[in-house]
Amino acid sequence: MVSLGYLWNELRRRSGRTIVTALGLALGVGLVVGIIGVSEGLSASQSKALSPLSTVGTDIVVTRTVAPTSGSSSNCSAGSSNLLSEGAQFFGGSAGKALGSLNTCEDAALLSSNSTVLTDLSKLGPPGTQFTHDFFLPGTLIPFPQQALKVVDGVNGVKAAAPALSDQAEHETGTVPTITATVQTPAQTIQTLQNVPPLTPAEGSQIISCLFSNPNFSSALANRGSAGGIPGGGATSFTSLLQKCLPASYQQFVSSVVVPAVTINQVVNPPSTDINTNSYTVAGIDPSQPNLGLITKAQVVKGQWFGSHPADQLLVSTAYASSKSIKVGQQMPINGTNFTVVGLVSPTVSGDASDLYFDLPSLQSLASSSGQVNEVLVEVDNSSQVGTVVKRIQKLLPGAQVLANDSLDNTVTGSLANAHTIATDFGGVMALIILLAAFIIAALLTLSSISKRVREIGTLRAIGWSRGRVVRQIVAETTGIGVLGAGLGLAVGAIVCVAIGAFGPSLSAVSSSNTLGASTASALFHETTRNSAKLAIPLTAPIHPSTLLLGVVFAVVGGLLAGLAGGWRAARLSPASALADLG
């Protein structure tokens, strides 16, 4: 069929052409393998970002979140502190009222739940003493009574429901500042003018009768002209007699002086202190539900799940543990309690990823949120019923945000989502274009090579080679080049994929879930009250046998087609015409 010696010598002794053509194909195949690898790597990374929340069974997340302010509502009777009656009212509104605005009730709930931020630092100790304290704020995830869990659990179609309290923590260390304010008001002189009414006749008579009834009055009157010479002060005696006989209204004046109310505004300078603040995120979960919650037992990558006494145990995310050099078994004192790190976990960015995971009651105690949670994670009986169950929960809890798992995917943003979108949208097209370009280059090189061999082909025809034999020989050559290109391409692709895995960038996946209304909260607290969960996932480009096979098939088929086209083009010439070719 084919002269293998001729084939081998053609490939070997026209090595320049062979290598250039093979490299053209190799480049195409390598890039295609690389692009497919990156695309699969991005898919895997996105799965990793969403997993295992989406795989361990969390189908629905129930929260109470704020929405943009558009007005106010007066009914705050069923605030977060109120307990469940019909299952609706602790979500900030009366039953049947959708949570469409951040009303005064929710304002109050937000302020109340974040009141720790207003803590007077002077309560931490006398001024000048060192303090270390962790503050816990729910941010925009407004807590609600834990009894909501029972309501959700009772919804038809719900298989299980797990509570969670997800907080923003501020770890503060420093010196208790001296907080004083000196208010100085200016000196005031108050003058009052009193008009004394004239004596009435009765008062005159009373004075005269009083004077004359006094036995000393005659002598006092006689000596009034030489008052200074009388021992004992005769004039004084007369004056004193007169004083005694004056009516009571002349002896004491009663007057009211009203000073206008004054508001004193004094700027109090912030206390000068050396407080350092570190933010981190925490979550309280139910250790008795190891397969459902913000973190699950399956996500423990080192150490173990909560033990039988979870109150003073905690789990730490691998990222936080890495950044803070936290190890399993380490003690972490928080507000006077020594917690033991029992395990490291790899949380998902979808939903809420926290740095530390506590036993729910422990965090409730730390955050002064006894009996409060701010998330309920739901697993449904049948995944096809998610939408129905969402509607049932929304009906029972009209103030709640009920988020189905499939929409959690949309909450993942960041470079991972962008890169995956790019890879999904353009990866296939790009791979196709590159492959097509590689084929065209390889085909042109092959055709160019064959066109230079027309006389050779004419000679073969002259010495008795049939047209088919000539075409087969050329196709075998170009297919051989294709195989070589495939081999080189796979090597190039493998190197690209390995290099991406070793030196490639990390993709950030950011979950904005449950941060709806963050701008409103920011407006309230003049700061971002809650960070979005962020996870850095290293980009990998896995190589699958199917990808390699695809590359080989493309390269070999490419070589085969190029050989067929070029060979047939040359062999269809009459031998005489081929021999007359000057090339």
Partner: protein
């Protein structure tokens, strides 16, 4: 075709190997018709040593290609060993070229990536000769043309005369009935040209193969036994060469 020839071979052994009747070949080139050969009437017998002499453009190469079934006449008929070539398909014509015709070109036309031995052996591929037999036969032929020591050399490492010897060996590979040589000495110096012509003459004498040599050189033509002179596509003279 082969069977027909085998059947008729012994009966027509005394008949002409080639019979050309009113052969004409026209080409369309750049919108004009070129009459390459016309009114050719020629018979070539088995074992003849014939030269076709003429200047460039006289039609001798066209005639050689028509004889070698590389081209077909636009008019007239060519009979090879009793079979009219015009009636044969591409498969049979290819078979004739493989089995019965050996070509030698002015430019040698060796495959540049193959050694001398491989260049000879490749001519036996269409006949499905086994590799060992091919190479054995190739070495034998190269020995016969005086290149026994250069079997592994690539054409680029051989002189013009050596390359033409390899081409002659290749042409003889399948024991052809006719050797068609188109200006076989055109690219050679006088000494090499003489050696090649001596080699062809010797082969013709030793094996009885019919040899047809196209040449512009009267000296080369003089070494043949019969000379056909061509001018402007027509036969001007057909005469025996005096020994």
């Amino acid at each position: 075709m082969t069977g027909a020839m085998d059947t008729n071979g012994s009966a027509d052994s005394a008949a002409a190997l080639y019979e050309l009747r009113n052969v004409e070949r026209r080409y369309q080139r750049g919108g004009t018709t070129v009459l390459a050969v016309h009114d050719l009437n020629l018979e070539i017998d088995v074992g003849e040593f014939l030269s076709i002499q003429g200047p460039s453009g006289s039609g001798k190469t066209t005639l050689l290609q028509l004889l070698g079934a590389l081209d077909a006449p636009t008019a007239g008929s060519i009979t090879f060993d009793g079979s009219e070539l015009a009636r044969l398909g591409d498969h049979d014509l290819t078979d004739i070229r493989a089995r019965h015709v050996g070509f030698v070109f002015q430019q040698f036309n060796l495959i540049p990536t193959l050694t001398a031995e491989e260049n000879v052996a490749i001519a036996m591929v269409p006949l499905k000769v086994k590799s060992d037999a091919r190479h054995g036969r190739a070495r034998e032929l190269l020995e016969q043309v005086g290149l026994g020591a250069r079997t592994e050399h690539l054409p680029s490492r051989l002189s013009g005369g050596e390359q033409q010897r390899v081409a002659i060996a290749r042409a003889l590979a399948n024991h052809p009935r006719v050797l068609l040589a188109d200006e076989p000495t055109g690219n050679l110096d006088t000494q090499n040209a003489a050696e090649i012509m001596a080699l062809l003459a010797g082969l013709q004498a030793d094996t009885g193969v019919t040899v047809v040599v196209a040449t512009h050189d009267p000296e080369v033509a003089r070494q043949s036994h019969r000379r056909v002179v061509m001018r402007d596509g027509a036969i001007l003279e057909d005469s025996a060469v005096a020994p």
